[in-house]
């Protein structure tokens, strides 16, 4: 195998693919990148057996294949070396048990192992796939992924539930104490309804490979995997002519098998109390008061009165604090306490001002409206009396 490649293109591809490559694996072959040079493209493949990525740099767009072939190259060393090279063009050549990377007057020789040891990675199958704008997909991911469970032992909540039904694609994530839910219109007439729990690791990879927010990505759910295909294109220089595809990236994530909690019943429909507050102001005041809370007593109390919100917190070790801000609240004075981190997580993603909060009473979930078709439900903190 012998390939000449624009260094910047190669560096970028290596950085993206390297994201999934484990530093240490019980199966050492996957600590490598699988290079495959064909007549039309250079393909870089990486996997950690849960998520996989296939990054194709198409011929003519900075890549020139002098000799086709495959090679298994140590992922870290190769990408670090290419990153640190100071040149425009890199030549990669693999022969038997050696791989050389050359840039200008500099070069390295890496020991390599038999490409046959790399596990087979699937290819994207366009049949049955649907298209979604890249930017929409990324937005749905960012709106929900932060609410997924992080701690051990809550397997089904370690991912985001994606549902395809009723002319929408819906994303739901929860850690059992808060829940983010959002959706976007999608023509689902020709598809069977589908539910899948996609691990957060896979989703952040997917949103990273979306190269062009305005271009469509293709998405495919198989029995146990989600796959996404994105392209990078360059527009033709002059009048007319077709946009030229320069990169194709396919990413795959193994789905989480498990029972996602029955989330529909916990989202409140109607609420006695509703309040609107300026998003930035609420964020600032919450953060201010949360300074006196500690890991053991991570709670802020929100007391709503006519036209005003008072935020209070106290902890034995750090003292107490309070702040006031004007809000749009009508109704009888009421209070509710939350973990400030949960509320701030939501406000960070809030796409509008004012933000709207609804809740029935201090024992019931608070429902924040953070954007169009975007809600965030947080369970309160209660004090036993």
């Amino acid at each position: 195998m012998k390939v000449t490649c624009n260094r910047e293109r190669l560096r970028e591809a290596l950085a993206v693919v390297n994201n999934v490559v484990p530093i240490k694996s019980p199966r050492p072959a996957v600590e490598n990148l699988f290079f495959s040079a064909t007549d039309g493209a250079l393909e870089l493949v990486g996997t950690d057996m849960e998520v996989s990525i296939r990054f194709r740099i198409l011929g003519g767009s900075g890549v020139d294949i002098a000799e086709t072939g495959t090679a298994l190259v140590p992922a870290r060393v190769a990408s670090d070396f290419v990153r640190d090279l100071d040149c425009d063009v890199v030549v990669i050549e693999a022969n038997g048990d050696r791989c050389s990377i050359r840039g200008g007057d500099d070069h390295c020789e890496l020991p390599i192992i038999d490409p046959e040891e790399f596990p087979p990675i699937m290819r994207f199958e366009s049949k049955g796939a649907f298209a979604l704008q890249g930017g929409t997909f990324s937005k749905l991911v960012h709106r929900t992924i932060f609410a997924a469970a992080k701690e051990q032992g809550r397997y089904a909540m370690h991912g985001v539930l994606i549902e395809l039904a009723e002319d929408a694609i819906k994303f739901v994530a929860t850690d059992g104490r808060r829940l983010a839910i959002t959706q976007s219109p999608l023509d689902t007439r020709s598809m069977p309804p589908r539910r899948a729990i996609v691990p957060t690791k896979g989703l952040s990879l997917f949103s990273r490979v979306v190269r062009e927010p305005l271009a469509n990505v293709e998405i495919q759910f198989t029995e146990n995997q989600m796959a996404l295909k994105a392209r990078a294109v360059v527009l033709p220089d002059g009048e007319g002519g077709e946009p030229r595809v320069t990169e194709e990236i396919e990413a795959f994530a193994r789905l989480i098998e498990g029972e996602f909690p029955k989330y529909t019943t916990v989202i409140p429909n109607s609420s006695e109390n509703s309040v609107e507050a300026e998003t930035d102001l609420l964020t600032r005041k919450l953060r201010l008061v949360a300074n006196v809370t500690s890991a053991e007593t991570r709670a802020v109390k929100l007391s709503f009165g006519k036209g005003e919100l008072e935020i209070k917190a106290r902890s034995p070790a750090r003292g107490e604090a309070s702040a006031r801000l004007p809000v749009d609240f009508k109704g009888k004075p009421v209070d509710i306490a939350f973990n400030p981190d949960f509320v701030l997580d939501g406000l960070k993603n809030c796409e509008m001002t004012p933000v709207r909060l609804e809740f029935r009473d201090r024992q019931s979930p608070g429902k924040f409206k953070l954007g169009e078709d975007y809600h965030y439900v947080v369970m309160p903190i209660t004090v036993e009396t």
Binding site: G153, R154, T174, G176, R177, R178, L179, P261, K262, Y263, V266, E296, T297, A299, A337, N339, Q363, P365, V377, M379, P380, I381, T382, V383, E384, T385
Partner: protein, 388 residues
């Protein structure tokens, strides 16, 4: 209190008065001495000594099995006396406490007279003798209470402090154990006066971080406040068996009893905990611990036992000399509780079964408080078939 457990036994059986009395387990059952009367102490009998050794030192020793229920009851009565004078009571054990009476003089008179009144009230109400020390700091108060024991009453005024401390051996400083005392002696410090004669810098140079602290205490300076409820970090119970136990069924029965006991105490203290640790000691004294942390805090016997039993399965099946269980990661039951979205289905939520158990436990606690520990207990902790 002076020879607390032994004094209670003597009070309840006046024929023992003046005789060497000790409370503890029997030598055959590998017992140790929990408390010794002053008559027994003249023979060299001390608490924590093995009973076998105590009986060798004092052949006429009257050995009485411990009645902890009784001691706890007396302890509560004594603590109630303290509470009449100040809310700032910091118990050190069942029979010892620091009291901060600053600011109570207008109500009850000077610290000296409060001390005297407490001593009299304890004697009148419990028939037991207390030794009392009155001083400006915790360290000095403890020292004062030990100085005239038994039946002591000693007041240390600020101006007396240097003269009083100077001749005492360094080991009398609070927190200086045998090893540190030896180290100080090697450096030429025999008495507290030797230490007080040095500057802070000198002591810090010679002793490191210990230096500054020793420097202050040697001058009678002790900034520690009387803190009524020092937050507990863990709560547990363990027992050395009369004979090594190999039977898993028997061990489980003991374990269940411990768990119920620990849970009861936690409920009484208004605490619940997350981490459960099992301690096991084999016949050869090798000791191991196994622990597990729950997703939610508990103070329920069955819940603690379920975990402890699981942990016991991870202990190699050799005969055990000692078994114990401890609950740590404690929090106040009034601590704010994060509510969960999915209830029963969620691993983080308190299981519904526990909420029911909680109501059961509250009822059982009432019975137990009224009729004693033996009134209600799990049937499976009944040891003998005949008991069932």
């Amino acid at each position: 209190m002076d020879a607390f457990y032994a004094s209670i036994e003597i009070r309840d059986d006046p024929s023992l008065a003046g005789r060497p009395v000790a409370v503890g387990g029997t030598a055959e059952k590998r017992g140790v001495i929990a408390a010794a009367s002053y008559a027994a102490r003249t023979f060299g009998v001390r608490s924590a000594m093995s009973t076998a050794r105590a009986q060798a030192l004092c052949p006429g020793l009257v050995l009485i099995p411990p009645h902890f229920d009784k001691y706890t009851r007396e302890s509560r009565r004594i603590m109630q006396v303290f509470q009449r004078y100040t809310p700032l009571v910091e118990p050190l054990s069942l029979d010892e406490a620091y009291l901060d009476v600053a600011g109570c003089e207008r109500l009850f008179g000077s610290a000296d007279s409060i001390g005297m009144r407490i001593k009299h009230e304890i004697l009148r109400e419990t028939g037991l003798v207390a030794s009392i020390g009155v001083a400006p700091t915790k360290f000095l108060a403890k020292l004062a209470s030990d100085m005239d024991k038994p039946d002591g009453f000693r007041v240390i005024h600020a101006e007396q402090v240097p003269a009083l401390l100077a001749p005492l051996p360094v080991g009398r400083i609070h927190g200086i154990g045998e090893r540190t005392a030896k180290r100080l002696e090697r450096l030429g410090y025999r008495t507290i006066g030797d230490l007080a004669a040095r500057s802070r810098e000198e002591l810090e140079r010679e002793l490191g971080s210990l230096g500054g602290w020793v420097h202050e205490l040697a001058r009678g300076i002790d900034p520690r406040r009387v803190t009524p409820r020092r937050p507990e970090k863990s709560h547990g119970m363990e027992r050395t068996f009369e004979r090594d136990i190999a039977s898993r069924e028997e061990l489980r029965r003991h374990l269940m009893e411990f768990c119920e006991e620990v849970a009861y105490d936690l409920r009484h203290r208004g605490l619940r905990g997350r981490t459960i640790t099992l301690k096991a000691r084999f016949a050869d004294f090798e000791t191991i611990t196994r622990s597990k942390t729950l997703d939610f805090a508990t103070h329920l016997g069955p819940r603690i036992y379920a975990v402890a039993r699981e942990l016991l399965e991870r202990v190699p099946e050799h005969p055990l000399r000692l078994l114990g269980v401890q609950v740590s990661g404690l929090e106040d039951v009034r601590a704010p509780l994060q509510q969960t979205l999915f209830g029963e289905a969620d691993a983080l939520a308190v299981p519904e079964r526990d909420q029911k158990l909680e109501r059961v436990a509250a009822g059982l606690d009432k019975l137990r408080d009224k009729y004693g520990a033996a009134a209600v207990r799990p049937a499976s902790t009944l040891a003998q078939a005949g008991e069932r």
